[in-house]
């Protein structure tokens, strides 16, 4: 009997089969061990559910435990207290005064930065592009936008309400009509001078005759001239946008800082109100937070299905409502007048 090694030494190991390539999106190929694990888990859960159903069916409605006197339920479900106690009022006052002081410090720092930006803006000569004498640079962007004018007004650089005749007026007094015509001629004469310098240049260009061969010196001179002119123009053009760029940047930063200052101001007021409400003395509420003739057209509008579809069902990023001082009236409390002891 030759017990060959054929039975004991198996040359080739059987390898475990894995998921087919075209079914790889279904995950791992389940073997019996995996199935047993899954089935046991499922059945244990089912058993738990059936046991709970039995418990519900055999519940005693009149059950009573003495802990029921202090435990709480909400909607039939037992609610257990988290264990957080409210802070005592004096500690809360201290913490809130600390917050208030912090807000006040941050706001003071912000106010200083706003003043610095305002000074930088006021120094710029072309802040308000009112004189359109520069006809060379036809800059439509040089004028301030409405928003930028709004920012300047909010920063109190420009006066809040423009007077009726917003255009600047320049009046020259003359004794008699002769003097008046003389003055107006002088003004026109100034303008005429600039016009007269242009024609000679054009004349020179016209007298250039085509000789049939290249005249390197003259031509290069001319091209050099024109190159110099265009490069000068280019420099000026690139300079202008740089100034406008800086002005735009300063105004943008100024508006952001003003907005921040406004929010901090509201926070300060709120803290002060809370501190006084925690204080001593009998008080009476006169008015709560109210809306003044709110523009209810766009407030809390019902959203049509089209709008929800446009967002693909997702909720909009929370846009903070701008608390406008004119549309909301703050709460008013009145304290009873008591002599300080």
């Amino acid at each position: 009997m030759t017990s060959s090694l054929r039975n004991s030494v198996h040359r080739r190991n059987h390898k475990e089969r894995s998921q087919l390539a075209h079914r790889s999106k279904l995950g791992l190929l389940e073997k019996h061990a995996d199935y047993v694990k899954r089935a046991r888990d499922y059945h244990s859960k089912q058993d738990r559910l059936t046991r709970l159903k039995q418990k519900v069916a055999e519940r005693n409605k009149d059950e009573f435990y003495f802990s029921m006197t202090k435990e709480k339920t909400k909607g039939g479900v037992h609610i257990k207290d988290r264990g957080n106690v409210a802070l005592p009022t004096d500690i809360v006052k201290v913490l809130k005064t600390q917050d208030e002081n912090y807000i006040r410090t941050m706001r003071a720092a912000g106010v200083k930065k706003i003043d610095k930006i305002k000074n930088k803006l006021m120094e710029m000569a072309d802040l308000l592009k009112t004189n359109t004498d520069d006809l060379e640079h036809h800059d439509i962007d040089a004028e301030l936008d409405e928003e930028e004018v709004e920012i300047l007004k909010k920063a109190k650089i420009l006066p809040e309400t423009q007077s009726h005749g917003t255009k600047r007026k320049h009046i020259l007094f003359a004794e008699s009509s002769a003097e008046a015509s003389q003055i107006s001629k002088l003004k026109k004469g100034k303008g005429k001078q600039t016009h007269e310098t242009n024609p000679p240049a054009i004349e020179e260009a016209e007298t250039e005759v085509d000789l049939g061969w290249k005249e390197p010196a003259k031509k290069s001179k001319k091209s050099a001239e024109t190159k110099a002119k265009t490069s000068a123009d280019m420099e000026v053009d690139s300079e202008l946008p740089r100034d406008l760029e800086q002005r735009r940047r300063l105004l943008k930063e100024l508006s952001a800082r003003l907005e921040r200052d406004r929010q901090l101001r509201y926070a300060e007021r709120e803290f002060e109100m809370q501190r006084l409400l925690m204080g001593k003395g009998g008080k009476k509420k006169i008015q709560g937070v109210e809306k003044v003739e709110g523009d209810d057209e766009d407030e809390d509008r019902e959203e049509t299905q089209d709008e929800i579809d446009a967002r693909r069902g997702r909720r909009q990023k929370s846009t903070f409502k701008v608390v406008d001082e004119t549309t909301y009236r703050p709460r008013i409390y009145k304290w009873r007048l008591e002599r300080k002891r």
Partner: protein
């Protein structure tokens, strides 16, 4: 940017920006101080298009309503060491700042006195070339005329900054400016020009006039 050449290089009066540029001579630098048109009515008038403010190097200027001396310092820079600025300010607190500014700039003479009573400071002033008035009082024109009768030379000039809301807040500004100009005409002043300081200030105007002590020539 509107700048004036700094009379006291290295010193900033009210925290304004200074610009240093290489001077004519090698190795020197000239310093200029930025003049803010939003803070100074005179700068607003200059940028607004006044043809001539008559404040030039070597001139003697009587400045009524000097406040803390921020505009006065720029006028002192313009008139230079040969000129003089006589700055009149009534409020003691602003007067203190004015005096401190005048300590640095020797061509400024601070006078802490009511401009309505020029007799009280008559011993400090010679005849001046220009009077600049920014007093913001309802009887401003009368104050200017009184001071001019005492101190302004014949053919001297007057620059007045008129605040319409200060003189009469109910009337429209154009009528107020016209009435002020009329008052000046009646008191031997020949008006030259009037400019509103529009984007910098609201309902303000600047008027320049010549003083003809012996009647306006017809």
């Amino acid at each position: 940017m509107l700048v004036t050449k700094n009379l006291v290089p290295g010193d900033s009066v009210y925290g304004e920006k200074r610009i240093s540029i290489d001077g004519g001579v090698e190795g020197t630098k000239t310093e200029y101080r930025v003049w803010n048109p939003f803070r100074s009515k005179l700068a607003a008038g200059v940028l607004g298009g006044l043809d001539d403010i008559f404040i030039r190097p070597g001139a003697k200027v009587l400045y009524l309503g000097a406040a803390s001396g921020t505009s006065v310092s720029h006028v002192a820079d313009i008139v230079g060491p040969e000129g003089n600025v006589y700055a009149v300010e009534f409020s003691p607190r602003s007067g203190r700042d004015l005096i401190n500014m005048a300590k640095k700039r020797t061509n400024v003479i601070p006078i802490v006195e009511d401009a309505r009573l020029p007799n009280k400071y008559r011993m400090l002033l010679p005849l001046v070339d220009v009077i600049f008035a920014d007093v913001a009082q309802p009887d401003q024109a009368r104050i200017v005329v009184h001071n001019a009768e005492s101190f302004l030379k014949e053919g001297g000039h007057v620059i007045i900054s008129i605040k319409a809301s200060c003189i009469d807040s109910t009337m429209p500004p154009e009528t107020i400016f016209a009435s002020e100009v009329q008052y000046l005409k009646e008191h031997n002043f020949k008006p030259i020009e009037q400019v509103t300081l529009e984007p910098y200030e609201r309902d303000h105007a600047m008027v320049t006039a010549v003083y003809c002590r012996h009647g306006i020539p017809k």
